[in-house]
C-alpha cells in the first residue's frame, strides 16, 4: 500500500479522501492556492504545499506544479478527487510517465470515455443501450439536418467533449437547428477547446439514474447499486438518493448488468459511475461514464457500508477486489443534499463571502462532508460547493424526515445557501411520491421564494439581538458585569 498520497484537490473532497488515508495509516499531502491558505484540507493534511495564484490554471489545474509537488514531498500516488484534473487524460498519462500512481482509471480509458461519441460506439458494440442518435461528431449543417430528421424532434445537441451542460441545446424543430448548432459548437469550443457536436434524441421527462462501479486490475467488476440524481438545476445535481424510487429488482438487475458491461467494454479500472437516463416507459439508455470519484458517492457508502475511497486506493495499489457482487446489499435509504454558496431565491446565483457562523447538524444517520468553518472566506475562484449533507434511515420516508430536520438544524450565516429551498423540495408532494424527473425544479419550483411563515419570531429575534448585548463584548461599566438592560443599550428607538 502507498506510504504517502498527494491529494490534487481542495475543500470537502480533499478532506474526505484524506480521512480515509489517515485511517489506513497513509500520510497525506495537500495542495492549495493563495486563496486557500486556511481551507479545511490544508489544516488537516500532514503536509501542505502552496501552488501559487488562486486562478485554477495557475494552481489546481497546473500539471507541472502538481507533479513537482509530488516529487518534492515524496508522494507515491496522486488522488485527483472530482473536478479539476480528475478526468484529464493528459494528467493521468503524465503521472504514468513519471512513475506516480494516478488513483483512477488508465489515461487511455479516460480519453476514450471522455469523447462522448467514441463512448457511444464502444457501448453500442457491447450491447449497452444508447440514446438514439449519432455516433460521430459532425460539423456540416446539411448532414446535421438530415440526422435530426432521422432521429425525430425534439433533438439534443451535445458536445463530443462535453460535460456540465456546456454546448448543450434542446432543439424543437428543424428551423431552429442551424443556429443552435452554431452557437452550441462555439460554446463547446470555448469550454473544451473542441467544437465537435453530435445529436441525440431528446428525452422529455427522464430520470437520471447511475450505477457506482468498482473494477480492479485483475478483471473483476462489481456494481454498488444505483443512485438517482434527477433533481438538478442548470444540469447540476442538487439532491441524490439511493435506492431510486423508480427501481424494481428486475430493472436493477438489467441496469446493473449493463453498467458492468459498460465497464468491461471500456477496460475500466478503479471506481467509476455509469450514468443512464430512464425513460417513462421503463427503457433506459447509456448516458456517459464518469471516470472518477463522484460527488454523491457518500449515499452509496451509507447504504452499502463500503468506503469507496478505500476501494480506490486498494485497486490503485494493484489489489484484487475483496467483495463479490452477491455480497453487496443496500440497507435502508440514503439522501444527499448539496449545500452550495448560492441564492435559491434568485435563480441560484453564486453567493461568495465569509462564513460568519455555522452549526452543523448531528444525530443518528447524519453525515456532513464539509469544506467550511466559522470564519472561512469562501473563494470566488472555485466551485460553490460548501458541503454535502447526507442522511440514512431505514426507509425513504424516514430518510426524508431525517433530512428535513437535519437541514433545519444546519445553520450557515454569511453566505446564502439553498437550505430553505431544499427543505421545500423534500416536503413537496411530488418528491414524497417519488415523482422525481430531471425537469423537477422547472416543473414544481419555477420561481421559488422562501415561505416566511414566522415573521413575528424573526422580529423578536432582531429586537433581542439589538437589546441583549453581545456575549463576547460585555457592556462597559455595567454593574455586576451582566448584559446592559435594554434601557441602557437601546438602539433605534422611536420615543
Amino acid at each position: 500500500m502507498f506510504k504517502k498520497i498527494l491529494v490534487a484537490n481542495r475543500g470537502e473532497i480533499a478532506r474526505r479522501i484524506m480521512n480515509t488515508c489517515r485511517e489506513m495509516g497513509i500520510k497525506t499531502v495537500a495542495l492549495y492556492s493563495d486563496a486557500d491558505r486556511d481551507a479545511v484540507h490544508v489544516l488537516e493534511a500532514d503536509q501542505a504545499l502552496c501552488l501559487g495564484d488562486a486562478e485554477p490554471a495557475a494552481s489546481y489545474l497546473n500539471i507541472d506544479k502538481i507533479i513537482a509537488a509530488a516529487r518534492e514531498t515524496g508522494a507515491d500516488a496522486i488522488h485527483p478527487g472530482y473536478g479539476f484534473l480528475a478526468e484529464n487524460a493528459d494528467f493521468a498519462e503524465r503521472c504514468e510517465q513519471e512513475g506516480l500512481v494516478f488513483i483512477g482509471p488508465p489515461s487511455r480509458v479516460i480519453s476514450e470515455l471522455g469523447d462522448k461519441t467514441i463512448a457511444r460506439q464502444t457501448m453500442t458494440k457491447s450491447g449497452v443501450p444508447v440514446i438514439p442518435g449519432m455516433n460521430h461528431p459532425e460539423s456540416d449543417p446539411e448532414v446535421l439536418v438530415r440526422e435530426a430528421d432521422a432521429i425525430g424532434y425534439p433533438v439534443l445537441i451535445k458536445a463530443a467533449a462535453g460535460g456540465g451542460g456546456k454546448g448543450m441545446r434542446v432543439v424543437a424543430s428543424a428551423d431552429e437547428l442551424h443556429d443552435a448548432c452554431i452557437s452550441a459548437s462555439s460554446e463547446a469550443a470555448g469550454a473544451f477547446g473542441n467544437g465537435s457536436i453530435y445529436l441525440e434524441k431528446y428525452l422529455t421527462r427522464p430520470r437520471h439514474i447511475e450505477f457506482q462501479i468498482l473494477a480492479d486490475s485483475h478483471g473483476n467488476v462489481v456494481h454498488l447499486l444505483e443512485r438517482e440524481c434527477s433533481i438538478q438545476r442548470r444540469h447540476q445535481k442538487i439532491i441524490e438518493e439511493t435506492p431510486s424510487p423508480a427501481m424494481t429488482p428486475e430493472l436493477r438487475k438489467k441496469m446493473g448488468d449493463a453498467a458492468i458491461a459498460a465497464a468491461q467494454a471500456s477496460g475500466y479500472v478503479n471506481a467509476g459511475t455509469v450514468e443512464f437516463l430512464l425513460d417513462e416507459d421503463g427503457s433506459f439508455y447509456f448516458l456517459e461514464v464518469n471516470t472518477r470519484l463522484q460527488v454523491e458517492h457518500p449515499i452509496t457508502e451509507m447504504t452499502t457500508g463500503i468506503d469507496i475511497v478505500r476501494c480506490q486506493l486498494e485497486i490503485a495499489a494493484g489489489n484484487p477486489l475483496s467483495i463479490d457482487q452477491k455480497d453487496i446489499k443496500g440497507r435502508g435509504h440514503a439522501i444527499e443534499c448539496r449545500i452550495y454558496a448560492e441564492d435559491p431565491g434568485n435563480d441560484f446565483f453564486p453567493s461568495p463571502g465569509k462564513i460568519v457562523f455555522m452549526k452543523e447538524p448531528s444525530g443518528p444517520g447524519i453525515r456532513n462532508d464539509c469544506g467550511i468553518y466559522s470564519g472561512f472566506q469562501v473563494p470566488v475562484e472555485y466551485d460553490p460547493i460548501l458541503s454535502k449533507l447526507i442522511v440514512a434511515a431505514e426507509n425513504r420516508e424516514e430518510a426524508v424526515h431525517r433530512m428535513i430536520e437535519a437541514l433545519r438544524e444546519y445553520v450557515i450565516l454569511g453566505v446564502r445557501t439553498p437550505i430553505p429551498f431544499l427543505i421545500d423540495v423534500l416536503r413537496s408532494e411530488a418528491f414524497r411520491k417519488g415523482e422525481t424527473f430531471t425537469d423537477f425544479i422547472g416543473c414544481h419550483f419555477p420561481d421559488w421564494k422562501p415561505e416566511r411563515a414566522d415573521v413575528e419570531t424573526a422580529a423578536i429575534a432582531y429586537i433581542i439581538d439589538e437589546l441583549a448585548g453581545k456575549k463576547e463584548r460585555p457592556v462597559a461599566d455595567n454593574r455586576g458585569g451582566g448584559y446592559g438592560s435594554p434601557w441602557q443599550t437601546l438602539g433605534n428607538w422611536r420615543p
Binding site: P352, F357, E381, V455, E456, I460, Y462, I463
Partner: protein, 181 residues
C-alpha cells in the same frame, strides 16, 4: 416605545411594552407576546415565546440582520434606518444603472474599448464567480469613456468596471431608495 421593522416588504410595528432581565413583553398589532431569552453566543439566541422554545441564529448589524429560524432565513431591517442603506445591495435581477458585478467576481473578458458606442443591453464585460459567468451589459445607450479594470481583476459589487457616458436626452434624476419608499 416601538420599532418599525421590515421583513421582506412587510412593515411590522412592534411595541416593546416591558423589559426586564432576560424577559420582555412585545406587542404586535395589540397582541402581547411574552418572551424569555438567553444569548448563547454573538450569533445564537434561545427564545421562549409564550412558553414555546425556539432558537434564532443572527448575523448583521442594526441596519439589516439575517435571522435564521428552522432553516429559513429572514432579512430583517429597521424601516426607519433602511432608506439610506439599501444602495448597491440588489441582486442581478434588479435593473442596473452602472456596469458593476452582482457579487464579488473576477473579470474574464472585456468586450468593449474606450470610445466605443454601445446600445442599452449590449454586452460590456464578462465576470465570473464560482465558475458561473455573468455578462454585464450597458445600462443605456452611450459611449464608453473609460475601462477601469483589466482581465483577471477581482471586483466587488458597487465597483464601476466601465464608465459609460449616456447619450444626450431628457435628464432623468437618480432615484435612490426608490424601492424602499
Amino acid at each position: 416605545m416601538e420599532y418599525r421593522l421590515k421583513v421582506d416588504d412587510t412593515i411590522i410595528p412592534v411595541e416593546v411594552k416591558k423589559a426586564e432581565t432576560n424577559t420582555m413583553t412585545l406587542s404586535f398589532d395589540g397582541k402581547a407576546r411574552n418572551v424569555q431569552y438567553s444569548r448563547i453566543s454573538d450569533n445564537q439566541i434561545h427564545l421562549i415565546i409564550d412558553g414555546v422554545g425556539t432558537q434564532a441564529f443572527i448575523a448583521g448589524d442594526g441596519d439589516e440582520k439575517t435571522v435564521i429560524l428552522r432553516g429559513v432565513p429572514y432579512e430583517v431591517r429597521d424601516a426607519d434606518l433602511s432608506r439610506q442603506t439599501r444602495r448597491g445591495k440588489r441582486g442581478p435581477s434588479a435593473m442596473p444603472r452602472e456596469v458593476t458585478p452582482p457579487t464579488p467576481s473576477i473579470v474574464v473578458r472585456i468586450l468593449v474599448a474606450e470610445g466605443d458606442r454601445v446600445n442599452k443591453g449590449d454586452a460590456v464585460i464578462v465576470v465570473t464567480a464560482m465558475k458561473m459567468e455573468t455578462t454585464l451589459t450597458a445600462p443605456f445607450d452611450g459611449t464608453v469613456t473609460k475601462i477601469n479594470v483589466v482581465e483577471g481583476d477581482k471586483v466587488m459589487p458597487g465597483q464601476i468596471l466601465a464608465d459609460i457616458e449616456k447619450d444626450e436626452e431628457e435628464p432623468t434624476e437618480e432615484q435612490d431608495g426608490l424601492a424602499d419608499s
